[in-house]
Symmetry: D3
Subunit: 156 residues, 6 copies
Amino acid sequence: MQKIAVFPGSFDPFTVGHENIVLRALDLFDRIIVAIGIHSTKQPLLKIEARVKMVNRVFESYDQVSADSFEGLTVDYCRKVHATHMIRGIRTSADFEYERAIAQINKKMLPEVESIFLLTTPEHTPVNSTIIRDIIRNGGDASQFLPRGLDIKDYL
Amino acid sequence: MQKIAVFPGSFDPFTVGHENIVLRALDLFDRIIVAIGIHSTKQPLLKIEARVKMVNRVFESYDQVSADSFEGLTVDYCRKVHATHMIRGIRTSADFEYERAIAQINKKMLPEVESIFLLTTPEHTPVNSTIIRDIIRNGGDASQFLPRGLDIKDYL
Amino acid sequence: MQKIAVFPGSFDPFTVGHENIVLRALDLFDRIIVAIGIHSTKQPLLKIEARVKMVNRVFESYDQVSADSFEGLTVDYCRKVHATHMIRGIRTSADFEYERAIAQINKKMLPEVESIFLLTTPEHTPVNSTIIRDIIRNGGDASQFLPRGLDIKDYL
Amino acid sequence: MQKIAVFPGSFDPFTVGHENIVLRALDLFDRIIVAIGIHSTKQPLLKIEARVKMVNRVFESYDQVSADSFEGLTVDYCRKVHATHMIRGIRTSADFEYERAIAQINKKMLPEVESIFLLTTPEHTPVNSTIIRDIIRNGGDASQFLPRGLDIKDYL
Amino acid sequence: MQKIAVFPGSFDPFTVGHENIVLRALDLFDRIIVAIGIHSTKQPLLKIEARVKMVNRVFESYDQVSADSFEGLTVDYCRKVHATHMIRGIRTSADFEYERAIAQINKKMLPEVESIFLLTTPEHTPVNSTIIRDIIRNGGDASQFLPRGLDIKDYL
Amino acid sequence: MQKIAVFPGSFDPFTVGHENIVLRALDLFDRIIVAIGIHSTKQPLLKIEARVKMVNRVFESYDQVSADSFEGLTVDYCRKVHATHMIRGIRTSADFEYERAIAQINKKMLPEVESIFLLTTPEHTPVNSTIIRDIIRNGGDASQFLPRGLDIKDYL
């Protein structure tokens, strides 16, 4: 059986923390899909297409990893791509509570897909997309919190 | 002295978790009012009237329980209906912090009404209205998270 | 049906925080039993008998409230005294996680007894028996953290 | 070296809790600037100018303390006023996680400014601006949660 | 490359929660070793040999899973058995903080072994070994919290 | 007024995390005393004298910093050395709850001493003395978690 993991999120933007989670999960799966959820209500920093392009660029040398976008429920997307697992990174205990609720509800709705979690490394723990987005919006330099070699201006 | 409990919330929608809290609190009170707060700013899934109707339907065989809606502060509503207690369910430790602040402020503003808390049973812990609302909005089947016998389509 | 609540704990010592919980729960129950658990392994500050005496002294003008001690499981004690409810105070979110586990396990073992929770008032939130015990053991003055009129020296 | 602390926040409104933090930090710094961040997206209760006026009024007898407003990143404002420290109050463990992330990111972006934290006193722990704002918006009396002598009507 | 996961813990006793974690992790690994740590200081309920026997009995129909005991650091044990991963279950946010510290320290000491986490299912969240141990020590019936078919008396 | 800060703790052992807190607090105080509490009940890894020696060695080039040991309550020690402040580092939200209780109780007992908090930097967040002590006791190499240039063997 092929092991296919979906790594769902907003990734607005995709940070060093997200990159690190994918790299550490690589040898557990045959394929990892970074699945960017489309939420019509939130005003994003980056367009969906820019985020897909950004993630594909980060993993251009990894055939196993690809980026995709989806609308609707994560479990429906998992069904569509025949995912066997979902991956999530957890940074803090505040994240944890929410992640646990989501994972347990997903498990009820789609029992055959198991959620597994990686904890961020210490240096990536404070890096959360909301804060990074705020820095970029205010013209600050967020490059140390983004995957190496990325210029956020190429995606804005 | 009659014991009258107000169970305030948005209940958008009213879930199995909420139902379970009311049922477990029943024998402590002469009357329980499920009080649905009207918040002009949030875009709800269900109209206030639909939510009142929904809760009344769930407890139609319980004379002790009724639904009502209110605008403004919960403490003002409690005063109006001569409540002696407020009931709240707590699911997670993230909920807890917020509930504690609210309860302590309410106690300062209306010392004669005591807040009591029930903790959700394990199987209801992940059921939160935000997640359930998201499932319904995306066309998913949320019936296992709603009180038995309810069809959400009757209330949308 | 008589409503009998068990308020279980170590109460080593019984603090203003504990007293406050009992007083606020008084009008919900016909009887409240402060049930002091005997744990052979822990080295207590106060002997069990002194703790029972202390609690009885605090509530000497309340017929509804009495103190007792018990060995073994709390659910077994609840069965013995025909309790309908357990009361617990929660101070912090760290307490919360543990209290939730205990309440859920107790519910599985004795479904007919419901646990209800009161949250400490702000000024009592930092008062925990471990810290108070430490103050007393080191000869500090802990009287402001104990029920008014109690002299801890009478119980040591 | 002059010690200049920036106390950044929305302060919508400035509460007794905020006042208490400033007073307790006074003797550590030569100067404390209460820096009110302008966020274009949020719909505030009080205008920025009213908040600046309010804070200046609270500390009118303290030469060391002044109020200011700023747009953009807090680190940029700190640079501008040659701050040596940032002060933050922490109320709950939910606050803590977010404050830690912000402080760690700020430290990465501006290593020469150290963030120090004071924990709210017990009676101020439940006082958070969101809840107070809600009380004021609904016509409730929030005066006990505001600095003594302030009439919120003067600032609305 | 063979994927070998170590699932370290005290397992005193091994509960339905632990069993559930192993079963859900099964298809990610070629081999899972339930590794029971020997701590000379704690007074256990079950002897190490009884715990090893208990776990082997639970998974007797799974060739992939075996039980072992070890002294010393978990990272040293992982090195010895050529583990590629560690598995941990997380129940609550209180667990989370500690698990994160341990995982991050282990990663520093043995970078080639990745820790992955599964969150307990809702019904297993309150099941923690300390509480179960307490029930058994007090003569209570803990069978609903232990793997099906196990009689704890065979291992005491 | 001289600003004298007490940094109380067990420091068994003193880690890079502790060192980092002292260094970042240096410019706020005229004097920092690392005050090592003696607890007769706990079985330490390092003797009190070894810990005092260790801390003095770490800060031998800083005249402002000294190490001391004390028995009894921290507030009594603060009184004795005329401290104006206490410093504490907070690593996680689990720490936070306990630190808040301690700080609030200390404030009640000794209002003139203010507690201020620094949050650990990300890379030091997982470094806690219990885990480090466990590594050392099991013969692991903990040097990366100790102040640079220290050989733990000199203090065992």
